[in-house]
């Protein structure tokens, strides 16, 4: 900090700050109607990022070792000896890896949904949580994108799927849903990374201005020379607007195409037209739940109570309740059609789910995805209880993970030729890699939380600028000015 700034008078506090003492019941806390000086907010964020206690480093060490065990150890072992070290077998040629892939792709829908969809629909409560969820999108896509590679029999030949001019004159096969998948994920990863980065530039400039040393150099580089001039802001806002509109359909297409990896096949139980919307709904359901889980943890550990308030989780809780309804609808629509048809193989599959070896997983899935959200999330007190929300959202993610597992791994066990039916149990290698994947996601997030401002300060400030408390009758009512 320079002398100059220390002696500088503070910008005057906005008028509505007076309302703090009055706090009427309908005051919407999620709008952060108690603004603080901008500089304080900046420092609040930056200091939260630089608090790295012993616990933090222990966590990083644990996560890093798990990542190393999963990717270096288990994956390396698999590459050395062959796919056989995984538990997959005829006829279940796809197993936990693909289930993980679908699950993490699903988690990646969090950021886009919250950031882009809510941005387009001007849901103001989104502002403090966009960055955190966009980071989830990018990191979970990285984790998800690794799984197809892990899953390859010859990982070292993965680049044969990339379309480029080559000596073999042979291009990839665009008839294959896997190519669509790759294209979609590449587009989505590029888009979501840039979409994370663009709104970050002003915050990088902010961070550049109030840090020193290596952080300043890093932030300075990432800020690209941002000064906050009108044209810079204008270009940025236009680009964000375009991104918000473009990334939404990409998001929908990504999980739809992932679902088509299954829907396009002749596999009984997979060959379903409803898989597209069903998967997308499930993805948003689990993605938003994961956002709540992560933000609750971040809020607690980084002491971001000012930015992340129970009201945000209240709003997100309503959202996941709605998506629980939607997921249930799609799940039931899919289930009842197949059940009613009574096709022998499908019957066997359903029997396996309802009464067979998969039953435990199946009922757990239904419990976490339907029973728990429906019975709790209608209650405002529960939605505002951080502990309850943490447990519920973790449950939903377990449920959604099971759903992915059931679809990928257990539907393959029974095909049209009963002679070829089989079973599948994941091996230790697959479990270690799955744990490694979770750890990688956590590690990326934990490390990034110390490098990237977890709350888009300028957006919050912009929000606070556009909100005011207006007396109507005897109450102060929050009102919004549309600045865009």
């Amino acid at each position: 900090m320079s002398k100059e700034s220390r002696s500088a008078p503070r910008p005057a506090e906005p008028d509505q700050a007076l309302a703090l003492e009055m706090r009427p019941g309908i005051l919407s806390d999620q709008l952060l109607l108690d603004p603080r000086p901008v500089g304080d907010m900046n420092r609040y964020i930056m200091e939260a990022m630089q608090r790295t206690g012993k616990g933090f480093w222990i966590l990083v060490a644990i996560l890093a070792s798990l990542v190393l065990i999963g990717y270096g150890g288990a994956w390396g072992y698999q590459v050395r000896w062959g796919m056989g070290v995984a538990g997959i077998r005829r006829p279940v040629f796809w197993g936990l890896y693909i289930a993980n892939f679908v699950f993490w792709i699903g988690i990646s829908h969090s950021g886009t949904f919250i950031s882009a969809v809510l941005r387009v629909f001007k849901a103001e409560f989104r502002r403090p949580i966009t960055r955190g969820s966009e980071m989830m999108t990018t990191f979970s896509l990285i984790v998800a994108g690794l799984f197809p590679l892990i899953h390859l029999g010859r990982t070292w030949r993965f680049y044969w799927m990339i379309p480029y001019f080559n000596q073999r004159q042979l291009w990839p096969n665009f008839h294959s849903p896997l190519m669509w998948d790759m294209m979609a994920i590449f587009t989505y990863l590029t888009g979501s990374t840039l979409y994370l980065y663009l709104p970050l530039i002003p915050d990088m400039a902010m961070a550049r201005n109030i840090t020193t040393g290596w952080r300043k150099r890093v932030y300075g580089t990432l800020a690209l020379g941002w000064r906050g001039s009108e044209s810079e802001w204008h270009h940025l806002k236009t680009a964000i607007k375009i991104f918000a509109f473009v990334i939404m359909p990409v998001m929908f297409s990504v999980h739809t195409i992932v679902s088509w990896d299954f829907g396009m096949t002749l596999v009984e139980g997979w060959h379903s037209t409803i898989f597209g919307p069903y998967f997308v709904t499930g993805a948003i359901f689990s993605g938003v739940s994961a956002v709540i889980t992560v933000l609750l943890i971040v809020r607690k550990t980084m002491k971001l109570d000012y930015f992340l308030r129970p009201e945000h989780f209240d709003a997100l809780g309503k959202l996941i309740l709605v998506f629980s309804f939607a997921w249930t609808y799609f799940w039931f629509a899919e289930f009842i059609t197949e059940w009613y048809g009574g096709e022998p193989v499908i019957s066997a599959l359903i029997h396996m789910q309802a009464r067979g070896p998969v039953a435990v997983l199946w009922y757990t899935m239904l419990f976490f995805n339907i029973v728990v959200p429906w019975s709790t999330l209608w209650n405002r007190r529960i939605r505002r209880s951080t502990t309850a929300m943490l447990l519920i959202t973790i449950g939903i993610n377990i449920g959604m993970y099971l759903e992915r597992y059931i679809i990928v791994a257990t539907f393959l066990t029974k095909g049209r030729m009963p002679f070829n039916w089989g079973i599948y149990n994941p091996s230790i290698v697959e479990l270690l890699i799955s744990i490694g994947a979770l750890s990688l996601f956590a590690l990326l997030y934990v490390v990034a939380s110390r490098l990237i401002p977890l709350v888009p300060v300028w957006e919050v400030q912009e929000g606070q600028l556009s909100h005011s408390l207006r007396p109507i009758g005897r109450a102060l009512v929050p009102s919004v000015v549309d600045l865009e």
């Binding site: 022998p344 066997a348 029974k414 030729m417 009963p418 002679f419 070829n420 039916w421 089989g422 079973i423």
Partner: protein, 744 residues
């Protein structure tokens, strides 16, 4: 099919076939693929061009039946065995065991050189030089009283049997005893004895299944291992779309649904030991329907109702079956192994053969004939296996210390004989045991000296096709590759030993080489009329003989037997079968059966045979005990559970396979697993059912009554780990075959 392939190209030694990688060759039309060649090998046979395939005709040695094979050799290495399209026995076809023969040749667990063992069973094999080994053996033979030298043979080529017989005779010892488990399970001795009794010739019967309209098979698993499975497999195909009628009808009578029964149109699960009675009952009804006077005496004492009670086959069904048998012109009855494996085996076999007499099919198309005589005096009689009684006599001699030197070739008696026979203990009484096994089998491990023979793909020889085939065949065996290791053919070893011993032995084996012996044996065939080979000189004839894979007549020629009137006119009583073990204490009949893949255990060291699933249970790499679902439910066991199978003679542990096609009072166990030695692929898999068998013999002929033991089953509460490996789905198994056969 195969016949259309140019013989010139296919068979001649030195003839060629394109061998360059076809995917590469497929691109251009102007380049002749034959002119391309791969890299030359370091050591290649002189007649071979690098990269080009050479086909050597030879004879399969995986079982005693003697199918003709051609071996595809590229760069001095055998790559594929196929059936010899010219060979009258198999006509280009070959069974699973024949196909896997290369894994005997290239088995990683072969003896690379002769070895000695400091103490028997130590498996501490020390390589010795051939000269030293032969000196040692010759010394032992000289020391020993000729009477105390014994030769135990198994599956061996007939030239070796000839040399061994001459050798033993020359030294003044008893002739070789030939015993192998597969032949015993086929009931060869009993079949020959029945032929002797009924037709006056101790020949193996040949059944023309291919032209029969109705075939009643009494326990003959002729599509699996029985006598000549490839010949009968071909015949079965012809029967299904035969020349006479649209489709033949096969009925299989046996307590367990074998693969043959699965291919049959009807499976009749008769009570073990009553197959002969059922044949008699059918014979009686047919004879009555036909008013056949010639067999009237035969069935005098047969009461159909009693048979129905004893066998569990209702009188109506017997009547129906008899009607089917009676109505067609070409009906055929086949007596198989299992019915010969009891103490009433000979009578039961005769009862079935009598059915053929009733049907009047002797020597007819679709009927019964006898395997043709050996065509030339220069060839000794084919190595007819000895009965179990002979082996028992040998064991007694060994126990009494009357055997000083025991030579074992082509057999693995420690594994193949019932444990209760006491062979293992008797072996301990023999001061010097020599094994000629190429692999460290259970017997070789108990030997002092191992003089490893070549595998059949490395040696010279001939084989007289005794079982199956419609004409006399002298099948040729020649090396397809140079010997891999420092092994020596036992024929050559015997010649060498004879030289070393001198005297009468040397006189008995005057030939300098195996080839010379072959020439003396095969040469005279040239003069015989109707042969397939036309050569000017003896040398050329031998060469032809080798390149075509054998000598045979161009016309079908098999003995039309005449049935003995005495037998037909006297009453044939099939006595009740006796079973070892008390029926209360040991409630189940034990039915061992030869595995279609491992045969009597010989194939257990060939990974392709282990990996190929058993046709009925789809189990690979292990064995199991088959139990009827109802019985299994009573015992509270299911597939994969380990149970203890106990007979009066011993007990073994095995995984259960719940087998819907078996009588509830019977359990079946395949033979072939349970090796304690015999290489990495065979060791430690499953259990050997021979440990359970009572050493009973068939009363009249002395054959091993291998299907006459009772057992009890005790669950152990354990599960097999890894679980019983099978290719079928554990859940999918419940589904019917309608899905598979016509799902659309």
């Amino acid at each position: 099919m195969g016949k259309k392939i140019s013989r010139r190209k296919f068979l001649k030694v030195g003839a060629t076939a394109g061998a360059t990688a076809a995917l590469v060759a497929g691109c251009s039309s102007d380049l002749r693929p034959y002119r391309r060649s791969l890299e030359p090998p370091l050591r290649s046979p002189e007649e071979a061009l690098p990269g080009e395939a050479v086909w050597y005709a030879s004879t399969c040695g995986q079982c005693p039946s003697g199918c003709g094979i051609v071996v595809r050799v590229i760069e001095g290495r055998a790559r594929k065995i196929e059936g010899n399209p010219e060979h009258p026995l198999n006509r280009g076809r070959l069974c699973a065991r024949g196909q896997a023969g290369l894994q005997a040749l290239y088995n990683p667990d072969r003896f690379p050189s002769p070895v000695r063992q400091s103490s028997r069973g130590s498996r501490d094999f020390q390589a010795v030089y051939w000269d030293d080994a032969l000196d040692l053996l010759a010394g032992k033979l000289k020391e020993a009283d000729p009477q105390s030298v014994a030769f135990l043979g198994g599956v061996m080529s007939d030239n070796l049997f000839d040399l061994a017989s001459r050798f033993m005779k020359g030294t003044g010892a008893a002739p070789p005893v030939v015993f192998d488990l597969l032949s015993a399970l086929e009931g060869r001795t009993t079949l020959a004895a029945a032929s002797k009794a009924l037709f006056g010739v101790p020949a193996l019967p040949v059944f023309d299944v291919g032209q029969a309209e109705v075939v009643f098979s009494f326990g003959a698993n002729f599509l699996e291992t029985w006598l000549s499975p490839v010949y009968y497999g071909r015949s079965f195909g012809n029967m299904r779309r035969g020349r006479l009628r649209g489709r033949g009808y096969l009925v299989q009578f046996e307590p367990r649904m074998s693969m043959t029964a699965a291919s049959a149109d009807e499976w009749v699960p008769v009570k073990p030991g009553t197959e002969g009675l059922v044949a008699q009952a059918i014979g009686k009804i047919v004879a009555e329907r036909r008013k056949a006077a010639n067999v009237a005496g035969l069935y005098k004492d047969v009461v159909v109702g009693d048979v129905a009670d004893a066998s569990g086959v209702s009188a109506e069904q017997l009547g129906k079956l008899a009607r089917i048998f009676d109505t067609v012109d070409h009906a055929l009855a086949i007596p198989g192994g299992a019915l010969a494996g009891r103490n009433n085996g000979l009578e039961a076999t005769l009862a079935v053969q009598a059915l053929n007499v009733v049907a009047g099919n002797l020597g007819q198309p679709g009927g019964l004939s006898l395997s043709p005589d050996v065509p030339s005096e220069s060839l000794v009689t084919a190595s007819v296996p000895a009965s179990y009684a002979d082996v028992q006599a040998l064991i007694e001699r060994m126990k009494a210390g009357q055997v000083q030197v025991l030579m074992v070739h082509g057999a693995n008696p420690v594994f193949e004989l019932p444990k209760a026979s006491g062979f293992r203990e008797a072996l301990g009484q023999v001061p010097f045991v020599v094994s000629f096994a190429p692999f460290a089998d259970e017997t070789a491990v108990q030997a002092d000296l191992v003089l490893p023979d070549h595998t059949y793909l490395e040696s010279w020889g001939y084989r007289l096709v005794a079982a199956g085939g419609d004409r006399p065949v002298v099948s040729a065996q020649q090396p397809a590759v140079q010997p891999l290791y420092d092994t020596r053919s036992t024929a050559e070893v015997l010649l060498n030993l004879a030289q070393r011993l001198g005297g009468s032995a040397a006189k008995a084996l005057p030939w300098k080489s195996v080839r010379e012996h072959l020439q003396s044996a095969i040469g005279p065939l040239q003069a015989l009329p109707g042969g397939n080979l036309h050569a000017a000189s003896t040398d050329a004839f031998i060469e032809e003989w080798q390149s075509h894979g054998g000598w045979w007549t161009t016309q079908e020629k098999s003995g039309a037997p005449g049935a003995s009137k005495e037998v037909l006119s006297s009453t044939l009583v099939v006595p009740n079968a006796d079973f070892a073990g008390d029926a209360q204490k040991f409630p189940f009949h034990l039915l061992p059966y030869p595995s279609i893949l491992l045969s009597d255990g010989r194939g257990a060291n060939q990974p392709f045979l282990q990996e190929a699933p058993d046709p009925m249970t789809t189990v690979a790499w292990n064995n199991w005990v088959e139990i009827n679902p109802k019985t299994a439910a009573k015992l509270k066991v299911t597939t994969g559970d380990i149970v203890k199978v106990t007979s009066p003679q011993g007990e073994i542990e095995l995984s259960v396979y719940v087998y819907p096609g078996i009588r509830p009072d019977t359990v079946a166990i395949p033979v072939g697993q349970g090796h304690s030695d015999y290489g990495r692929f065979a060791q430690g898999r499953g259990s050997n059912v021979m440990d359970l068998l009572a050493p009973l013999t068939e009363k009249a002929g002395g054959a091993l009554a291998w299907a006459a033991t009772r057992v009890k089953i005790t669950p152990t509460g354990r599960k097999a780990t890894p679980m019983l490996a099978r290719t079928e789905s554990a859940e999918g198994v419940e589904r019917g075959f309608r899905d598979a056969e016509n799902p659309g």
